[in-house]
């Protein structure tokens, strides 16, 4: 058999690629259900972290069911629309101008949880922000990222960063939407609440800043409509 012949080479390459494709498809299919479960549990953990609950992979599902008593989608006018908030892909759902909302009860008080999504230095950022029932004061936040620099931008997932948002307000005294700024450590922001960014993670911090503004803008009508 001539190993350098064209026909041998083409047949060899085709057979190899087909075999590899089958192998990978099989692996992907057989692990899919585990991966989906991990992703769901991870999402529940993130949502729970935004209401200051640290769940583990084992108990996340139970706690989630206990605490989150309602979830729905709202449109840009703040009225509810059809759809499942948990399984909705946040990016796609934002593009369609429908925004997921989760309602949790923490120590007898109602908290509203909102989805955030934006971009950091290397890729997407996302997170959850929970507000008290005044729909203004932040109760808790949680941030995640796809590929920010470990030790720098990736530090936004740490409690040291996300806890800073607690008790900050989205609206100023006269009821205008101002969002919460993420500024360089030592700097301040005029006329709005702010938190310190990550040193060495400036672009990621700016990404978080923009993400909160953009995402919460989508919920604006929902936040203001029922507020007296």
């Amino acid at each position: 058999m001539n190993r350098d012949g064209n026909i041998y080479t083409i047949v060899y390459a085709s057979v190899m690629v087909i075999l590899v494709a089958f192998g990978l498809a099989f692996t992907s299919q057989s692990l899919r259900s585990y991966q989906k479960k991990n992703e769901d549990i991870d999402k529940m953990k993130q949502i729970l972290r935004s209401v200051r609950v640290q769940a583990t992979a084992e108990n996340a599902e139970t706690i989630y069911k206990e605490m989150i008593n309602e979830s729905f989608l709202v449109d840009e006018n703040g009225s509810k629309v059809d759809g499942d908030a948990f399984s909705a892909d946040v990016v796609k759902s934002f593009a369609k101008k429908t925004f997921p909302v989760f309602v949790a009860t923490v120590d007898g008080q109602t908290k509203y949880i909102f989805c955030l999504q934006g971009t950091g230095l290397w890729g997407p950022l996302w997170g959850y922000m929970s507000l008290n029932d005044d729909k203004n004061t932040v109760f808790g936040t949680d941030f995640s990222h796809a590929g920010e620099t470990p030790g720098l931008g990736a530090e936004i997932v740490q409690l040291a960063f996300s806890n800073q948002f607690q008790d900050k307000k989205l609206f100023n005294e006269s009821g205008e939407f101002k969002s919460i700024a993420v500024v360089k450590q030592g700097k301040t922001a005029e006329g709005q609440d702010y938190v310190d960014g990550i040193s060495g993670g400036t672009i990621t911090s700016q990404g978080v800043n923009k993400m909160i503004f953009d995402s919460m803008s989508g919920y604006l009508k929902f936040l203001t409509s029922q507020k007296q």
Binding site: Q35, N38, G151
Partner: protein, 209 residues
């Protein structure tokens, strides 16, 4: 020839020191810089790379007499890419959190020069068992360096090891601060350089004029 003859022993153990892929051959530097700011991702990366090199070596070694010479690099790439995808899928299913930390670097194992280097230089000319040992040795040689760098970077940069605080609070009370600079990638290359320096001053035969 026994399973661990002298030749095989040197194939397995050589890459740990005398022929280390990172500090002697200077391969795989980019991931050594990228995933070593914490110890845990460095460990998982070391295990993943070792598994991929060992199995890719075996597969290429088994196929070595059938691979058409003109597309051998493509065949090697396909084998690596397939194995890396499998590792990534398995991590997603069973070690979700670590996979999240390693993010893109699992996929980037494919571009790790050590992998292609071993396939091209060793697996194409040796039997499956030797190739397996060679892959194992090189993976471990890479892993050892990664773990050493990550140990110092996590200790000095974050004051923790595997996420546990090891520097007592009393130190901080006296004004000790974690060195944020160590977390940055440039410090990893200094760490590699220091390891190379120590290693060469102990192994005079590796010194160049």
């Amino acid at each position: 020839m026994g399973l661990l003859s002298n030749k095989n022993k040197s194939v397995l153990l050589g890459p740990l020191s005398q022929n280390n892929p990172v500090i002697v051959q200077v391969l795989g530097i980019c991931s050594a810089l990228a995933v070593t700011s914490k110890l845990e991702p460095a460990l998982v990366m070391a295990v993943s790379v070792t598994a991929v090199i060992a199995f890719a070596n075996v597969i290429i070694s088994l196929l070595r007499n059938t691979i058409p010479n003109r597309i051998r690099i493509i065949v090697q790439l396909v084998v690596c890419a397939a194995l890396v995808t499998i590792v990534s899928e398995i991590l997603k299913a069973y070690a979700y959190d670590v996979n999240k930390q390693l993010s893109v670097f699992v996929g980037l194992i494919i571009t790790n020069c050590i992998l292609m280097g071993r396939l091209e230089a060793f697996a194409l000319g040796n039997g499956p068992w030797e190739s397996f040992l060679d892959g194992l040795g090189n993976g471990l040689g890479y892993g050892v360096i990664l773990v050493i760098i990550a140990f110092f970077r996590e200790l000095l940069g974050s004051g923790t090891l595997l996420g546990f605080k090891v520097i007592p609070q009393a130190f901080y009370d006296f004004g000790y601060v974690n060195n944020g600079l160590v977390i940055l990638p440039p410090m990893a290359i200094f760490a590699v350089a220091i390891i190379v320096w120590v290693h060469r001053s102990r192994n005079k035969n590796l010194q160049e004029n």
